[in-house]
Symmetry: C2
Subunit: 421 residues, 2 copies
């Protein structure tokens, strides 16, 4: 599958001939702008360093590179695919199964737990879509040769098990939303009243716990302890990220490194590790599992970076048109952090806090004069490209379904960075 990536065109093209398995390798080369060299691969794969390096790269290396979106997206022979349409039937199955999985003998608990799985409130199904496409994208011969007959029954069972990962991921995601909303005293979520607002904090805490325990029971039923451990670690990451955000000291709030690590924990860990779980359940090699992880990780980071931009711009490109909910809650995100490098005066504004709107306005003014939004988008594009490269690096396949799913996964990286809501 030959594709030319959107964005960062000059860079991508000049390096196209040298595409390789791990996006971190490419990264190592480009990181030479600002990051220390001579790292060993294991060190580079560590998420912490990876975060730190991508920061260096974006802040020092991309200043003079113009990026453009919507160009050279695909070679002419590739049909456009709608990633969501490809798996819509399975999405319905998963949505129905989720509703039946959160039934409890205590009526209030059941209605609390199913609150976000109800028809109309169940979200876009972004995570399940990614996971189902990943399952199809990795549907290729496994390392061990398996007799045709066994393979066929395994195939069906495997798909059900992979669907189960999608369900578990949604349950963990919604559990974390329920607890986060309690923590943030949020009053709306997905356009409806947040559960804590409608049913009270106590029930929201319990419903979150209930979903976590159901997710854990479902995980155990997969009888793969590596996968159990992987997704338990995700729950720990979600908690760690939330606590990092909640307890950050002044210095940490103004650190890009801290921000990126928190973003990995809060957003990218769930999708990256569940992508990896899909690969493990498919019986794929460690290398393939790492590529699945890389895809999820970079897609998740790109997604959050754009989210942080949209919090300032909303559906337009104009600053201040977003909800500004982060900055009003005192949460400092990438656009402000980049702006701060150009305008150190922002430090003292951030120190004062954003309880009054004058300070918010002052910060927005500096942001408008800076390249903060642009550089955040650049960083998102870079992560989107890395995600797409992970897909390119998968073992070759001539299976039409596999190729279509891989194209859809790459298209998703595009949708993530071009979305306006």
């Amino acid at each position: 599958m030959q594709m030319i990536r959107w964005g960062l065109r000059s860079l991508c093209r000049s390096r196209k001939a040298g595409l390789y398995g791990y996006s971190s390798k490419r990264f190592l080369r480009t990181a030479s702008f600002g990051a220390p060299l001579n790292r060993n691969p294991a060190e580079i794969r560590s998420k912490v360093l990876d975060c730190r390096e991508s920061y260096f790269w974006s802040s020092h290396g991309l200043h003079d590179i113009r990026y453009q979106i919507h160009q050279d997206r695909k070679s002419a022979d590739e049909e456009p695919v709608d990633p969501f349409a490809l798996v819509s039937d399975e999405l319905s199955i998963i949505a129905n199964r989720l509703r039946s999985m959160v039934v409890s003998e205590v009526p209030k608990l059941a209605s609390a737990a199913e609150y976000f799985f109800k028809v109309g409130a169940e979200g876009k199904g972004f995570r399940p879509t990614v996971l189902l496409l990943m399952a199809s994208a990795l549907n290729m011969p496994r390392p061990e040769s398996v007799a045709a007959e066994i393979a066929s029954s395994f195939q069906k069972d495997m798909r059900t098990r992979q669907q189960c990962i999608a369900e578990i991921t949604e349950m963990i995601h919604v559990a974390s939303l329920l607890h986060d909303d309690v923590l943030d005293d949020a009053d709306t979520r997905r356009g409806v009243g947040s559960l804590n607002f409608v049913m009270g904090n106590k029930l929201a805490v319990l419903a979150g716990d209930f979903l976590l325990s159901r997710a854990c029971v479902a995980l155990a039923s997969l009888k793969n302890t590596e996968v159990v451990s992987l997704l338990a670690t995700v729950v720990e990451h979600l908690v760690t990220g939330e606590t990092m955000q909640m307890t950050a000291k002044a210095e940490q709030r103004q650190s890009m490194e801290y921000y990126l690590l928190k973003t990995y924990y809060k957003t990218a860990s769930l999708i990256s590790n569940s992508c990896k779980a899909i690969a493990l359940l498919a019986g794929q090699t460690t290398e393939v599992a790492m590529l699945a992880y890389d895809y999820g990780r970079n897609l998740g980071l790109a997604f959050q970076l754009i989210d942080d931009v949209l919090d300032f711009t909303g559906t337009t490109a104009s600053l201040g048109k977003g909800s500004l909910s982060d900055i009003r809650h005192g949460i400092i995100t990438a656009p402000i952090l980049f702006a701060m490098e150009e305008f150190p005066e922002l430090h003292s504004i951030i120190d004062k806090g954003f309880d009054n709107s004058e300070n918010v306005d002052a910060a927005l003014e500096y942001l408008a004069r800076s390249r903060g939004i642009e550089r955040t988008r650049e960083l998102a594009v870079e992560h989107a490209n890395r995600a797409a490269e992970a897909i390119d690096a998968l073992p070759e396949s001539d299976d039409e379904d596999v190729l279509t799913s891989r194209r859809a996964l790459v298209d998703l990286t595009h949708m993530v960075i071009t979305r306006s809501k």
Copy 2:
């Protein structure tokens, strides 16, 4: 091991010759006082029916049976054992490991999570003591014959894995305490400020989630998916019990059946299922695992029933000397439920709620005139006996350590019902 149980002496003695494996069988016979007969064994083992039947039994069958405590506890040749002293060395190992297991890279999260594992605040170690003694009590030949050499290495590994169950159980227990304290707006726990009081609700919710995820990671490391599933179900039970208590309707608050089911979920499920996990990790049969479960279940129920008595009496036998915290929070427990059978007038008092102390006083007056406290103790004694019978029903062993541990487990059932705090 021949023992004559304390309490309910006439009943116990007359039936001693017919002791058998499952306490439910014994129960079936005694249940004929009030419960429907002709149940099949599977049905009888179901916890819901079991709770319901034990209610019928206690409310209809025990009226005329005098029980006495502290008599005929043991045959003369049995040395007294201190259950806690038997495992004190291992308890220290577990306490230390718990402290090292809850370390986090986020300082606030670490200090929140370790709050109840600190020296001086870590509790009496009741659950770990039960589990370690159970591990020793089941240290007998496994169904499969294992070569001597392998057996010896397995033995050591097995003990470490069983200790791990004790650690996981403590983490789940403390996580539920943290969330419960948030739900109850509690300001103290174990004599120190509750975590939500000291660090705020948000951090208490996160610390609970963190402990649950660490417990789940530790569970996965045991590589036994049946055990993962068992303890995940416990978390679900804890949530279900808490929600039942929180959302009970007027009718449910006055139902003994509802109360017993809630008590199983909130208190007995954790210890019973972790006892079962100990047996499973020891490679024991389903029958032995069920006896371990029966022991834990009945011990847990006896423990809670006495807790409910002590909430009214405190360290004395005088009513109103306890903290009265349940009734003041509107939580109706066994003593009041039994009293209500004698004095239906209590229904309307309960309906009015206990926000004013006059209503509390009125309820206490009825309780004092009733056999509520006595019948609650009788029920606790009955469950303690059933727990001891489960130990008696274990396959015979002539190993001195095994016998000592079994004696200690039986002694624990005694300590549970005779404790005054």
